[in-house]
Amino acid sequence: MLVGVLALQGGFAAHARMLRALGAEVREVRVPADLEGLDGLVLPGGESTTMTLGIEREGLAEPLRVLIGAGTPVFGTCAGLIMLDRAHLGLMDIESRRNAFGRQVRSFEADLDFPDLDGPPMRAVFIRAPWIASHGPGVEILAEVDGHAVAARQESRLVVSFHPELGDDVRLHARFLDDVRARAEG
């Protein structure tokens, strides 16, 4: 099971550590050739402006659309959520609002009810985080903070506006890897 982590910039190392701890083989993705043969892909947090420029510089937009459009499971966190929205790669029917909670001084952690996951609430770290301001009918909202959508799923695409890779709760990564395994074996 080979999972790519977009490594232009941002929180890619923490994702890679968590995925490896869960038994996945991980490849850092910087150029289109790195996407060959991936069973799943993580778009990490980082600075969305910088990441957008990097995707453009490397010519990654079209290959990403092909890979993810074909149903390869993708997990986007924070800036990764923004990359998948209507205004960026256009791979999810969501409109995101950048830095929606405010500057760094408003960044926070909170216990998040995640009905989709078994067990206790998830301790979620929000850093200059976006939220999902609106979405189409094919999108299922999975969690909210103060009435704002912060986690969603559309087919094989899972996005959260917080940073599960910075904590020690591996449930979302495990869920993502279940999807990757199911598709790789199916």
Binding site: A7, Q9, G10, F12, A14, R30, S107, L166
Partner: protein, 294 residues
């Protein structure tokens, strides 16, 4: 239920800057150029280190109006510098809601015995270090990110290499020590023992480690990343060069592809002259900024 300004939230922003370049800017216009060149954050200050060096005198926190102008100009994080030990400047920067505060040796120190108590601030701090003990003392005081100091404003990479190699080799050495020896190492490093044990166990600092001070070219960026930096601060190297936008872009590209010499070569082509540089060895002791802080 909502906890703001936890250490995880503070250190987490630095995690999101990893693999990126933080650029010094002195105007909103430069901030916009830095953002479009691919900077992950900007450092708002009145004079870049090369000019602080040239002008002499006391260097202080920047004008809040200038910092606000830069905050309004870009959507990437905005950092600003406070003098070592000047907790009132840090309070002002907190009131301005900058995203990160750099307690910086580039400014003239305000306290020769004490660094700022960084736990007291809701804003995360980055601090400079020339060695592991200094890095761990700053983390003990609440710093959520470390940068090697190098020698700011010179365009000479030699001090950045010295500091990054020293931090790296001291980390590697800790991993070879047993529990008794670690207690002694903590005393020698003058660092909190629990932090020393953590570094020995994990083989890295508990916060993100960037490099600063002397980076002027894409090859400099690649060098420092290969020596273990997780990202870069570039001060005078961009806006003191002939074509700042092209150089900024090139250094960003070389930072992402630091392990790919062909990409670094391509990024280095046709950039025009680098900043006017100073050889650190030719500077007198009183001109060395890295000696400030302890």
């Amino acid at each position: 239920m909502r906890d703001e300004a936890t250490f995880r939230v503070k250190a987490g922003l630095a995690e999101m800057l990893k693999g990126g370049v933080i650029m010094d800017v002195v105007t909103p216009e430069q901030a916009r150029i830095a953002e479009s060149a691919g900077a992950v954050a900007v450092m708002a200050l009145e004079r870049v280190p090369a000019d602080i060096r040239r002008d002499g005198g006391v260097a202080r926190m920047s004008d809040p109006a200038m910092i606000k102008g830069i905050e309004e100009a870009v959507t990437i994080p905005v950092m600003a510098k406070a003098r070592i030990g000047h907790f009132a400047e840090a309070q002002v920067l907190e009131a301005l809601e900058v995203d990160y505060i750099d307690e910086s040796e580039v400014l003239t120190p305000a306290d020769e015995a004490n660094h700022i108590d960084k736990w007291a601030s809701r804003i995360p701090f980055v601090c400079g270090a020339t060695n592991l003990g200094e890095a761990l003392r700053r983390i003990g005081e609440g710093a959520a990110m470390i940068r090697s100091k190098g020698e700011a404003g010179t365009g000479d990479i030699v001090e950045a290499v010295r500091h990054m190699r020293r931090i790296g080799s001291e980390i590697r050495r800790l991993a070879t020590l047993d529990e008794t020896e670690l207690a002694t190492a903590a005393k020698e490093l003058q660092a909190p023992p629990d932090l020393v044990r953590g570094v020995a166990r994990d083989g890295r600092l508990p916060v993100v480690l960037f490099c600063a001070g002397g980076i002027a070219t894409p090859a400099d960026a690649s060098l420092m990343m290969q020596l273990g930096a997780e990202g870069l601060f570039v001060g005078s190297g961009i806006f003191k060069a002939d074509d700042p936008e092209a150089r900024g872009r090139a250094i960003v590209e070389a930072t992402t592809h630091f392990a790919d010499p062909e990409r670094v070569a391509r990024a280095s082509e046709g950039l025009g002259p680098a900043m006017v540089s100073l050889e650190t060895r030719a500077l007198g002791d009183e001109q060395l900024l890295a000696r400030r802080g302890w």
